[in-house]
């Protein structure tokens, strides 16, 4: 087997990498900007509200919520503080574990999520789905799965 550890990407591989990462970044920024101007929501707000709205009783333990959207707990804690100030969520003490907190979507939060959802899905269609052929959608899914797998493997090695 060839020793790869010290090889660097070729010029072409690097070009693809830059295109790929810059484009996905531009896409993310565009969707975020849409969401903000149409609904005064950030992608973070949306992720939190989506997870809560799908949860049993519209409530989750803080750490479950963090796991479900793949955030560090500290990040979530800061974000929940901001959302709580805006009246979108509320924190309650957990009855089964006094260390824990339960996060729940307020009525106001649930309404906001409903109003946000359709325009956001439309934007995803417009910027992502409409851009790609069915084959390209499949390819995007494969690519994501492959990259995610590889990432998980590298992390597991540590």
């Amino acid at each position: 087997m060839t020793q790869r550890r010290n090889q660097l990407p070729t010029r072409e591989e690097l070009r693809v990498w830059r295109d790929f990462i810059e484009t996905t970044e531009a896409l993310r920024a565009e969707l975020a900007s849409r969401l903000q101007s149409e609904s005064s929501m950030s992608p973070g707000d949306y992720a939190v509200m989506l997870a809560l709205s799908e949860a049993e009783g519209r409530r989750l333990r803080s750490s479950e919520l963090a796991a479900s959207i793949g955030w560090e707990r500290s990040r979530l804690s800061h974000h929940l503080g901001r959302m709580e100030r805006r009246g979108l969520v509320r924190r309650e003490n957990c009855t089964t574990d006094n260390r824990g907190a339960e996060i729940l979507l307020t009525t106001e939060g649930a309404d906001a999520f409903r109003r946000t959802s359709i325009p956001h899905l439309r934007a995803i269609r417009e910027f992502f789905v409409d851009a790609l052929s069915p084959d390209q959608i499949t390819a995007a899914g494969d690519l994501a799965a492959t990259l995610r797998n590889h990432l998980d493997q590298l992390r597991a090695q540590r």
Copy 2:
């Protein structure tokens, strides 16, 4: 032609979208974390230093630099302030336009960039290039180009 304006993504299209955007985000975060722990640099630092190191005389007008890395000027201005405090870049008055500023890489900045570059390229190979088959690299490039094109077209319509 079918009216698409109000159609929403299918469940499958949405799954691909989430996989895709979350995976690219995880990839971005992983590379950023590497760069930070190995070299005390952020991706932003790297982008700025790369553009400057490739520029004539290792200097660029602030707005040229912004265009070359695709940033808003305000973002760049804040970032340059932080990099200047760390001694990586310097700002000088522009001789041909008194409003303008020229940004230049200090010797220290150029050294830092050299030290950072190889490990960063290795990380790109490890997390991206090594994960994908040659065909998948090609597919990633196509995908990026298609998405970028579509994005530019939508923006041009406004």
